[in-house]
């Protein structure tokens, strides 16, 4: 196993916890002293840095939320003076204002180090050519992978998003071996390539997909691996943390969260109570070394599970399972929690339909109705309308079984549902509540 930082990546659990406690304590002291926001937040929660006597005492600290960033727009939350800030990024604000994230030189370095460790754990290195097909700019996906890939000595192709024909040409001509993108864009690229007569599997050297930015299912990964011949590596990170920071290793068995960079907890989203390993709940992150802004017990809104066992690769740091959904993406249809990822998972098990879908929720009278629009594959089209109706009913039946709520299914023509180059937006909610 090749490690970027072998000493840290292989710490025994007690050593790692000791290191985390030390980092947590100094981070909280620093924020209490230098962040007016966090100082006040701690005073309100009647907790003082001296109350932290063990790592478990982290539970005494108050939560932070996305709205804290919005309410303190643009930089009232910052815990470093302006002259130490070397970069800004912004996250797409789904509710109006974007949220601004600042970075000190050390923050950029830790971000890069974290993702570079991850890329190394996948087996990438100086022999690789990494095409970064995430947006460059205020979005962190482009520059994050760019810096990390350069750090490990790989050659970077900063393709950014769009112009899929050009992307395919670059992959072929430059011998690209790894590509950072959203999983839905990678599949879209595969479709476009196929139409041009290029098989990603047979005609290119692309073997690793650095995928994230949207929830995706195991079935989608299987399709990427079987059809495109690309190992689909799940990556994780948001602008609040810095950007894409963590990923699975070559074992593809959970995302390693470097414990010296982030401390993770899983909580019940309704009660805030901490859950144990293997229990599914909301991920809460504490960035242990971040300078520019406090990120303590941050309610990131992703639903996952944590695994504290040592990975087959030998690394000891805790891993999170894939992201099962978002606390705020969760649709409530007729009182039932519905995650778009469940719909995706069900559809991927039906060979006649493609992986693109759209959920339309409406309220008719007092009743919610859910419509799932899905593309019929060209080869599954039959002249026999009864068979099409049977297929529609079969999909509807499977959805009802997995979601516990009824859905109407509409078969649409291939290539007609919107494709996404950034985050996939599967849900159209027309309800006025």
């Amino acid at each position: 196993m090749v490690c970027l930082d072998p000493r840290i990546e292989n710490l025994s659990p007690p050593e790692l916890e000791e290191m985390q406690f030390r980092l947590l304590k100094s981070q909280v002291y620093r924020l209490y002293s230098f962040s007016p926001f966090y100082h006040q937040r701690m005073r309100e929660a009647k907790v003082h840095p001296d109350d932290l006597r063990s790592l478990d005492d982290v539970a005494k600290l108050p939560f932070m939320y996305k709205r804290d960033l919005r309410d303190n727009y643009p930089d009232k939350l910052f815990s470093a003076p302006r002259r130490e800030i070397v970069r800004y990024h912004a996250s797409s604000g789904t509710t109006g204002k974007p949220t601004i994230v600042g970075y000190t030189r050390h923050d950029i370095d830790m971000w890069t180090t974290s993702l570079a460790r991850s890329l190394t754990s996948i087996g990438l290195g100086p022999d690789d050519v990494v095409q970064v097909s995430n947006t460059y700019g205020l979005f962190t996906g482009g520059l994050g992978f760019h810096y990390a890939a350069e750090r490990i000595g790989a050659a970077v192709v900063p393709a950014s998003t769009g112009n899929t024909d050009r992307q395919i040409e670059l992959i072929k001509d430059l011998g690209v071996t790894a590509m950072a993108a959203t999983p839905s864009y990678l599949l879209h690229l595969g479709e476009v390539a196929e139409k041009k007569g290029v098989s990603i599997k047979d005609d290119t050297k692309l073997r690793v997909g650095l995928l994230g930015g949207e929830p995706w299912s195991m079935k989608m990964r299987d399709r990427i691996q079987d059809w495109l011949g690309i190992k689909g590596i799940n990556c994780y990170g948001t602008s609040e943390l810095s950007g894409p920071m963590f990923s699975e290793c070559s074992e593809q068995d959970g995302i390693h969260i470097w414990g010296d960079i982030a401390y993770i907890e899983i909580i019940d989203p309704d009660t805030g109570e901490r859950l144990g390993p293997g229990e599914r709940g909301e991920l809460v992150l504490t960035m242990l070394q971040k300078e520019a802004m406090p990120m303590v017990r941050y309610r990131i809104g992703d639903i996952t599970e944590v695994d504290t066992e040592r990975c087959a690769c030998g690394r000891t740091h805790p891993r999170i399972r894939r992201i099962f959904g978002r606390v705020d993406d969760m649709l409530i249809v007729r009182g039932i929690n519905v995650f778009p990822s469940q719909v995706e998972h069900t559809l991927m098990g039906i060979p006649e339909v493609g992986e693109h879908f759209q959920i339309v929720v409406e309220r008719k009278g007092t009743l919610d109705t859910m419509l799932v629009r899905v593309e019929l594959k060209k080869e599954a089209f039959t002249d026999n309308i009864l068979q099409l109706i049977e297929l529609r009913e079969r999909i509807s039946h499977r959805l009802r079984n997995s979601l516990n709520v009824g859905a109407t299914v509409e078969l649409v023509e291939p290539d007609t549902l919107p494709r996404f180059e950034g985050k996939a937006k599967h849900v159209v909610d027309k309800r006025e509540i």
């Binding site: 019929l376 089209f381 039959t382 002249d383 099409l388 529609r392 078969l411 649409v412 023509e413 291939p414």
Partner: protein, 143 residues
Amino acid sequence: MYEQYRVKQLSIFSENRPGRLASVAKAMKEEDVNIYAFSIAEGAGYGVIRALVDQPEKAYQKLAAIGFTVRFTDVLAVEMEDRPGGLFDAIATLGEAGINIEYSYAYSGRRCAVLILRVEDLETAAGKLLERGARLLEVSQFT
């Protein structure tokens, strides 16, 4: 057997929204393809457009190229006399022969009227119809 009677019908998958049929017709016009007959079968939210044309290959290529999901379906074309009772004669034969129809439509051409039939077992149906003296149009008569 009966290869000569396997008439290539185009079946096109189409969502039920304005303009889809027009884009099929426009494509045929652009390719100079003549449409003998067509029908639309509707099932919640989408339909299947079925058409008999003089140049099926050319039509197929064009429709596929502009993004339609299209395939060929083999159908039988039974000649009918274009007079009162013509349809009855053709259908009576079908009943006697015990042939189950998936779907059917008809058109009135220059020389005669034609009944298009989609059946489960085309071989058996063609044999039985011919035995009872029905006149089947051959593929060559469409091109």
